[in-house]
């Protein structure tokens, strides 16, 4: 899953690095609040731990073996904020010292494996685990599902980042300038291995490791729960907003229903439809029509074709992007204005 240099365009890798810098800053602030002066050795040792667990070979069918990423396990053991910093440090050292993964792609690799994987995996873990006892069947099932989902989400993100390259960066004659496999190839190629093999392996190993820690050193987990406010906050936030999350997810999943209706919505006509309706295109409309080209035209991904399933996938993806953008803007506004209105 480590993307090397040369596969992604700098227009993808540099923004990812900027996004990750913000995430690192926020995560570091959170860890510092929880651990105070001990934050540096805690992050460093956690990073060394994640580095070493990535070196372990896990036996699979026949005589072959595979590697686990262990990001969700680290997040469950020490909390998501600490996990982001620890796994990012591991990935930076892997790129700078062992040439594993590119230097320019550090931001993208960290986003997939050190942010998306532990944070989403941890959220799923908290959602399923709820208030169950550590080491209970529900808790271990939650660990398995979270690890399975975490690695698959990271793989999906990697596939999307690679698959959008031929869409965005092509030469005038249409030849791809960077990655050349479209989403239709990268997503099945990555997901096949991860959904069938790597995910299960990751889930198994994480569950085994967590059950051991729960059995022989439960105080470490309890301490983690006590000291890392972020874990408790994440859990309570999810349970507080359970209704909102479920409703939003349902609405997102229902967006392809719009495909059942034929034609465009009233007043949302394109140039062709306006011409059909009134016989000509108003000059003002013609002038401004080309000012903006949508990233996902007609809520679809051109590479996926016109089949009903791919159109539905495009609708869901568009809804997900839209909801994330709006939610992000609201959260930023809330954060920025919080101090001023709390004073009043």
């Amino acid at each position: 899953m480590h993307i090397p240099d040369g596969y992604l365009s700098p227009q993808t890798t540099i923004p990812a690095l900027i996004v990750m810098s913000t995430i690192w800053y926020l995560a570091f602030r959170k860890v510092k609040l929880a651990h105070n002066q001990q934050s540096i050795p805690t992050i460093a040792l956690c990073a060394a731990f994640s580095f070493v667990i990535m070196m372990f070979n896990i036996p699979v069918a026949g005589g072959s073996s595979a590697h686990a990423v262990g990001a969700v396990l680290v997040a469950i053991l020490v909390g998501p904020a600490l996990a982001i910093l620890a796994i990012s440090t591991t990935l930076i050292i892997q790129a700078l010292i062992f040439g594993d993964g590119g230097v320019l792609t550090i931001g993208v690799n960290c986003f997939n494996m050190a942010f998306l994987m532990p944070v989403c995996g941890y959220a799923i873990y908290r959602l399923i685990s709820g208030a169950s006892t550590l080491g209970s069947r529900r808790n271990l099932v939650a660990t398995f599902i979270a690890s399975y989902a975490g690695i698959n989400l990271a793989a999906l993100a990697t596939a999307i980042e690679m698959g959008i390259q031929p869409l965005l960066f092509t030469s005038p004659n249409g030849t791809p300038l960077y990655g050349f496999y479209p989403l239709g190839v990268t997503i099945p190629a990555m997901m096949f291995v991860h959904l069938l093999f790597a995910g299960i392996l990751e889930g198994l190993i994480s569950t085994l490791a967590l059950s051991y820690v729960v059995k022989f050193a439960p105080h470490l987990l309890n301490q983690t729960n006590r000291t890392l406010g972020s874990k408790i906050i994440a859990g309570s936030w999810l349970s507080r907003n359970k209704t909102l999350i479920i409703t939003t997810t349902l609405i997102i999943c229902m967006t392809p229903l719009g495909l059942l209706a034929g034609g465009s919505a009233y007043g949302e006509w394109g140039l062709d439809e306006v011409k059909q309706l009134i016989g000509y295109i108003p000059s003002g409309m013609a002038k401004t029509a080309d000012l903006w080209h949508a990233i996902l035209p007609d809520y679809t991904l051109p590479v996926l074709g016109d089949s009903a399933i791919s159109q539905s996938f495009g609708y869901i993806l568009s809804a997900l992007i839209g909801v994330s953008l709006i939610a992000g803007l609201i959260i930023i506004t809330h954060r920025l204005t919080k101090n001023s209105y709390s004073k009043n």
Binding site: P4, D5, G6, Y7, S9, T13, W24, Q37, Q38, S39, I40, P41, T42, I43, A44, L45, A47, A48, F49, F51, V52, I53, M55, F56, N57, I58, P59, V60, A61, G62, G63, S65, G70, T90, I93, L96, I97, F98, G99, G102, V103, L104, N173, G174, T175, P176, L177, F180, Y181, I205, S206, T207, L208, A209, S211, Y212, V213, F216, A217, L220
Partner: protein, 307 residues
Amino acid sequence: MCQAELIPSWLLQNERGLVNKTPQRLNFLRRSITHLSKIFSEEIYFNRTADRQGLLQAIDPRAKLILILIFILIINCSHTFTIPLVLFAITLVYAKLSHISLTQLTRRAWLIIPVFILICSTPALFNVLIPGKVLLTVISTNSKSQWFSHGLYISDNGLHSVMMMFIRSGCSLSLVYLLLTTTSWNDLTKGLSLLKAPTGFILILSMTYRYIFLLTNCALQMNEARFLRTVGRLNHRENRRFIGHSMALLFIKSNYLATEIFAAMRARGFSHKIVSLKTLKLDKIDYIFMINNGIILLILLAWSKIS
């Protein structure tokens, strides 16, 4: 092998008879041991090469770091073969002047990841994915194949795209390898701190690097102990349980270490400042190096504009 230059050959030889008799189901342990020991051998190798009296070893790490990052960025921005290949040629010249084995550099940078990329990119050579002018016909257009009505051939655009990716990744990795073999980790982190990278980031990087070796040693010992004590056949379930439990044990150890290390740091008066015995100062040679490379980059830029 990089170890071969530093460690006597008899120490690196495997007891072949014994290795061959290793049960297939213990392969994962052997691979883990190999991976973990490689960390140590590479560290020894990089430290030795960084201590050699060569050109890049004498240059300030800040200058090297900035230059190599700029080179990698230029390689990744270029869409023609010329600039990456010229920069690779410059890498080879610098490696020679820094007493770095060119065979090693080529082997490490080009024979693993770029070759893997090349193999994965083979389908992109054909017109099915990237159309273009015919270079080599595999199935002619006259064939009655249902799948390839336009024929199947290697296109010029396909070959260009695949080779571009292969060259980009190989050239970038060569530059990273050059930086690693000519700069010790301490100098690199010191350079980063002088470049105003956040102190917390540098401290975390330095400490992680130091303790990676300690935890790797723990993991290596666990794997070796298991490898030597295992007799007979074990099923995959048992083996996976061992790996899961080893990871958990490492977590417990690292947690214990974090507390101990923090206590030791406080006892020694740790004040969140980076202290280094070596002082780095940009010298005349560093300025000459930077100016010369700046001129090289300008020439390359002008050349790419003309051609």
